[in-house]
Symmetry: C2
């Protein structure tokens, strides 16, 4: 076994969590490995070996992690290999601001439902109005809250 058991179970946990968040288990494993390995960057080939996965699986999952801005590919002159590392410029706040879009979708649905109703003052309509108000308040407020992060912790 090439890496410690604690680390293996950590990698698997990360796999499960990322899977539950909508990506794949394998992409979670890759992220997990990059988090616990003491190497600063890791080659494509090493990922295949350590995670016991096929090249194709690593290839596709590495790509999704890159588009999510979680990791970054590194290439070196005189070296054909590609290495990957945790994206040093990852901005979690930005990431979550983008995710707020889903809440906005919800809000659009509530408004539309309200339009489609004949009686705009029955229980269901009031439910919808309440929901619209909440989501309007929440999306705006949450976004403003997250924006405060930028500059909060200057990288020393």
């Amino acid at each position: 076994m090439s890496i410690y058991n604690e680390r293996i179970s950590f990698i698997e946990e990360t796999g499960i969590l990322l899977e539950s968040m909508g990506t794949t288990r394998m992409s979670g494993r890759i992220l997990g490995y990059l988090m616990v390995t003491d190497k600063e960057m890791v080659s494509f080939d090493e990922l295949c070996q350590v995670l016991q996965a096929s090249k194709s699986s690593i290839s596709t999952n590495v790509k999704t992690l890159i588009t999510l801005h979680f990791i970054k590919p590194i290439t070196l002159p005189g070296d054909r290999k590609t290495y990957y590392m945790l994206a040093p410029d990852l901005n979690w706040a930005e990431y979550h601001i983008k995710r707020i879009e889903q809440l906005k979708h919800m809000n659009r649905l509530f408004r539309k439902a309200l339009e489609l109703r004949v009686n705009k003052n029955d229980k269901s309509s009031r439910w919808l109005k309440m929901s619209v108000e909440f989501y309007e308040w929440a999306t705006e407020g949450y976004k403003n809250f997250l924006k405060q992060w930028t500059g909060k912790k200057p990288k020393e």
Copy 2:
């Protein structure tokens, strides 16, 4: 066709959105129908017919919507049927406060990874520290923000 086309497409949209949020398309359809029907409550049987779905599918999906506190079952004396309506006491803020758990999981992973690292001051460790700080700040702050909602809009 028993309901208007605008409403049908609304129902389908809701299905797609709820599906993308981790539940099933059918549960989204049920919620969507309850949002646009002018009836205040709808019977199990009506859901089957309007959504052209089997009893089993309605049964299981209605249950998940109930556990999510989105809808509420209503029974009436002298009537064997069960009716469903949008949960009048649904608290969206509460709902999202519970969802924050996922962010906490993330944070737990970051801390654990940091523990497992040998060199606690290399790039990856700093990435992890930054992430821990962000998630600590974000989960607490978001929770407090959401708590402000309660009492913000007294149901007049």
